[in-house]
């Protein structure tokens, strides 16, 4: 068994691509091995900014010999055919074997493929891997790039080390030939390093100031930064993304702590943290829970002066950036947010949806005029909250025209909240939270003003783009409407807001809000509700909720109160996990199949959901009474199982209906459970297609009633399985 070392050296690979590159290298290599029928006992991949490395252990030196058979002509075929077959397979005529195939003697050629030297397999695999490498972005370079067909790599490829055991694997890719030497650290080592094989690769590089194992470098950054902070009496603000990025930017990482002037701490800490992290890749530190005037940078050298010059240089860069931030902070605060907000009238939100100023007016109308009533606030509470809601909405977007947000767009809302401090905590926090939640794991707004503002923000975006037919298609969602829909879902469900979703869109006077100018704003409520329900299915799938059950409840029609819908789905899912549930479903399907086959509508016509009515209304429906009456007054004596089903239905219907009315969905499911044994027994003992027409009609009607009863709880036809 032999080990193999591969190193692909290049100019600096972007830090963010290294993880994917390691996985791709391993995958491509494994694929090449598999194609040759070879397996390694272990494959390790490493990366530094300047190299990708792979070590495969326990490879054989020869691939397995393979024996293949080819079927040829039958005995007695023309000589030409037989000779041709021999030539094609590289055998002589006396090497052919004769076998009986369906009673005819047929020639076979047995071709022994001898094992190949694995070193030859590797020599072919390396160029194939390099050419097939799926970099997210790649480039051409050098004289060869006079043709666009020249080799592409993430940055110029400068060398290949390929050693099998202790022998060079000779190969070449577009002028880059394999060798047994590599390069050490860019500044701490000069000249070539000769590598003996897989075992001395990492130690020899370490001696040349390169830690080739990315995980080890990450650990040095992680613990080194924490230690530097602790040594200064501070607490590191941990950031695993920064750990990986810094480890991807240095072959010999050295975390160093520096200080900046205290005065800069007067600008919002988010600004400092953002500029330190995003622009400079520095960690920041805290003292007593507050941002401290310290940063930790990661150098790539052991400087002779212990890094004093490096820290000082980095301090200056950060100071310049913070000086800019303070300049913006001072300039912005010379105006009130109301004054800034006037500038929104000059910014186009979307050419078909007016300016950001227009959008602000719409959000204010939804948040202050529509939502309080819709979510069921008392008139008194609504009146008390409306001025706050209106003010928050009016100034919420004003920070978009400030210098600070111009420089740090990620801080929209956050900066506005600072500038809105004078309007009180509720308004300031609402402005901070208006874009929340921005992802599935993001927090929700902390207060009621923020919740309504955030909901109005998303409702306006959904309505606006849907009304102008700019809906997400496939992978394209340029206006982040999926995220907006998800935000609406979480704001409603997690705050237990009770209202019909369609009302949110249908009850707003959009024509007036959009200053429609003769434009047709055909109401897209139904489309938006469908879209939101679709997103609900995706969101709930991650929580383990079955999408078909959501369909089964939503298909009842009228159920777009998301909180109730979900409670119902949860109860249904628990029920479907029981034996009663699966058996009832089987009974339902059987009943539905018979009804379909017979094209039977009968009683069902009376109670089929149209999508508009509350399904519960059926309980008192005079038509339903007639159905019950008909069931009781049969023109013949029902069989015991038939009678049992009738009785069970009469008992279960009101129970299920009452439970649903009371939103006790578990009880509704329990009511359905009582139908399971009777429906099973009915199918067991009663012939639906009786010879007597009156019996057949009555029994089909009975099945239709059974189906209708089940439909009061959920549309079981949408349930899979």
């Amino acid at each position: 068994m032999t080990d193999f070392l591969l190193e692909l050296r290049s100019e600096e690979i972007p830090a963010r691509m290294q993880k994917g590159a390691r996985a791709d290298l391993e995958k491509l290599f494994a694929k090449e091995l598999a194609a040759a029928g070879v397996t390694a006992s272990d494959i390790t991949v490493w990366s530094t900014p300047r190299r990708l490395a792979l070590i495969a252990r326990g490879l054989p030196t020869q691939t397995e010999a393979v024996s293949e058979e080819a079927k040829g002509p039958t005995e007695g075929a023309p000589d030409q055919a037989i000779d041709g077959f021999c030539r094609k397979n590289g055998v002589t005529r006396d090497q052919l074997e004769r076998r009986d195939v369906k009673g005819r003697q047929t020639y076979f050629a047995v071709i022994e493929q001898p094992g190949r030297a694995v070193t030859d397999v590797l020599a072919e695999a390396i160029p194939a891997i390099v050419r097939a490498f799926p970099w997210p972005k790649s480039m051409r370079w050098g004289a060869a790039s006079i043709s666009t067909e020249s080799l592409k790599w993430v940055r110029p490829l400068s060398g290949i080390v390929a050693i099998f055991g202790d022998a060079l694997v000779e190969c070449e890719v577009d002028g880059v030939t394999s060798g047994t030497f590599t390069m050490g650290h860019r500044f701490h080592h000069s000249g070539e390093i000769t590598i003996g094989g897989a075992d001395d690769y990492a130690p020899k590089l370490r001696a040349a100031y390169v830690i080739v194992d990315h995980a080890e470098r990450e650990d040095i950054v992680r613990t080194g930064a924490a230690k530097a902070a602790a040594d200064a009496g501070l607490q590191l603000v941990e950031d695993e993304g920064l750990v990986v990025e810094n480890a991807g930017l240095a072959e010999w990482p050295v975390p160093l702590l520096g200080r900046f002037e205290d005065d800069f701490l007067e600008v919002p800490p988010e600004t400092i943290q953002l500029t330190a992290r995003v622009n400079q890749k520095y960690f920041v530190c805290e003292q007593d829970g507050k941002l401290a005037n310290a940063f930790i940078c990661t150098a790539n050298i052991e400087a002779a002066d212990g890094g004093a010059a490096i820290v000082d240089g980095n301090r200056k860069v950060l100071a310049a950036r913070l000086s800019d931030a303070r300049f913006f902070w001072d300039v912005d605060r010379k105006k009130t947010l109301e004054e800034h907000a006037k500038g929104l009238e000059r910014i186009t939100f979307h050419e078909k949806l007016g300016t950001v100023g227009n959008r602000v007016n719409r959000i204010a109308a939804i948040a202050a005029d529509r939502l309080p009533e819709l979510i069921g606030w008392s008139e008194k509470k609504a009146r008390a909250m409306q001025p706050k809601l209106r003010k928050a909405a009016e100034i919420a977007k004003a920070d978009l025209v400030t210098e600070m947000v111009g420089e740090f767009p990620e801080l929209q809302g956050t900066i506005g909240a600072y500038y809105a401090a004078g309007y009180g905590t509720e308004i300031s926090e609402a402005i901070r939270d208006q874009y929340k939640p921005v992802g599935p794991n993001d927090d929700l707004p902390s207060g009621e003003v923020g919740t309504l503002l955030a909901l109005a923000d998303k409702a306006d975006a959904l309505f606006g783009f849907f009304s102008r037919d700019m809906r997400p298609t496939g992978s394209k969602d340029p206006f982040a409407l999926r995220r907006a829909a998800l935000g609406v879902i979480r704001l409603i469900i997690e705050n237990d807001l009770r209202f019909q979703l369609s009302q949110l869109f249908s009850a707003v006077d959009w024509e007036q809000l959009y200053d429609s100018d003769g434009v047709d704003y055909s109401d897209p409520s139904a489309a938006i509700v469908d879209f939101v329900i679709d997103r609900l299915k995706v969101q709930q799938r991650e929580a383990g909720v079955r999408h078909d059950l959501i369909d089964a409840v939503f298909a009842l029609g009228g159920e777009d109160d998301l909180v109730r819908l979900l409670a119902r789905v949860h109860a249904l899912q628990s029920f479907m996990a029981t034996e009663d549930g699966t058996n009832l479903l089987a009974g339902y399907k059987r009943a539905a199949n018979i009804l379909k086959k017979e094209d039977w509508h009968g009683a069902e016509v009376e109670i089929e959901a149209t999508g508009d009515e509350d399904p519960m209304a059926n309980v008192d429906d005079p038509d339903m009474k007639a159905v019950y009456a008909a069931a009781k007054q049969l023109s013949y004596t029902p069989e015991p199982a038939e009678k049992a089903l009738i009785d069970a239905l009469v008992a279960a219907q009101p129970k299920a209906a009452a439970a649903i009315e009371a939103e006790d969905f578990a009880a509704a499911m329990a009511a359905l459970t009582s139908l399971r044994a009777p429906i099973d027994a009915f199918f067991e003992e009663v012939t639906v297609n009786a010879d007597e027409e009156n019996k057949r009609t009555a029994r089909l009607d009975l099945l239709a009633q059974f189906r209708a009863a089940v439909h009061n709880v959920a549309d079981f036809s949408k349930i899979e399985g």
Partner: protein, 288 residues
């Protein structure tokens, strides 16, 4: 410092050129970069280019942001295999010790929508400060670069701040006799910031923009790519001034940038058309 860089790059085969006498946002706009990056002919040049970025003006109040500053530009076509090593040697030549200062190549892909150009490369950090943009051009004016050119853009003020160890650009010594950068440029920054942001006559600027666009098209009709390209540079700078005056809305912005891009692309197209035949004859393996 400039003289050291001139010596170094001259020794390494570059022509030493002079700045282009027009207002432009970056050395990349110099025709010796943009137009010469096209076509198969080898081209190695180095030059200083003053740059103007009206929106970066800070009335002289920021320690290293300026609306007028100098770039040192090197272009090498095709890109040599030891370009990174050459670049690092050039840093040592101007006095930056890579064992004392932390030099890093940090991913920064370059894209200029107004030039219809992009490339891959890095911003080079010296102790966390971006001191050079290092790019392998892949496309220019919408054309694939065949072959690829390597471009180095040094920020001269920033490098000088390092070498002299000063925190504020205006404290840089301009000579050995006590004249500072501030004495030469501070007043200029103050006045130009005021003009860029507050005073410049926007009607006149809009008018100038239109005229540059028209003149560029006039040149293209006459099959004169070099004068046409000058008008593209002009239009680009006028657009930047209008941006600084804050009179171009987000919506209009895209349309203005599109116009500048069309001018730059048109100039590149005309330049290619004018030379393609001669190039193809001289370099049989090359095709437009």
């Amino acid at each position: 410092m400039i003289l050291s860089l001139h010596d170094f790059w001259s020794e390494n085969g570059c022509l030493i050129l002079q700045p282009y006498d027009m207002r432009m946002g970056a050395g990349t706009f110099h025709p010796a970069t943009t137009l010469r990056a096209l076509g198969p002919e080898p081209w190695n040049a180095a030059f200083v280019q003053p740059c103007r970025r009206p929106t970066d003006g800070r009335y002289g109040e920021n320690p290293n942001r300026l609306q007028h500053y100098y770039q040192y530009q090197v272009i090498l076509k095709p890109s040599p295999s030891d370009l990174q090593e050459l670049y690092l040697k050039s840093l040592e030549v101007i006095g930056i010790d890579p064992l004392k200062h932390d030099i890093r190549f940090v991913e920064d892909d370059w894209e200029s929508p107004t030039l219809g150009a992009w490339g891959l490369g890095w911003e080079v950090w010296c102790d966390g400060m971006e001191v050079t943009q290092f790019t392998y051009f892949q496309q220019m004016g919408g054309y694939d670069c065949k072959p690829v050119a390597g471009e180095l853009t040094y920020g001269l003020e920033r490098l000088a701040m390092y070498i002299q160890g000063v925190d504020n650009v205006y404290d840089l010594a301009f000579n050995q006799n006590g004249v500072s950068y501030g004495e030469v440029f501070l007043e200029n920054e103050k006045q130009m910031s005021t003009w860029n942001f507050e005073v410049a006559d926007t009607d006149a600027l809009f008018d100038l923009f239109k005229k540059a666009v028209a003149e560029c098209q006039n040149c293209l009709t006459a099959k004169l790519p070099l004068p046409a390209y000058e008008q593209a540079i002009e239009a680009s700078h006028i657009f930047n001034l209008l941006q600084a005056r804050g009179v171009i809305s987000v919506q209009e912005r895209a349309s203005y940038m599109g116009q500048v891009r069309d001018l730059a692309r048109g100039s590149c197209e005309a330049y290619m058309a004018k030379n393609a035949e001669a190039w193809a004859e001289k370099f049989p393996e090359w095709c437009a």
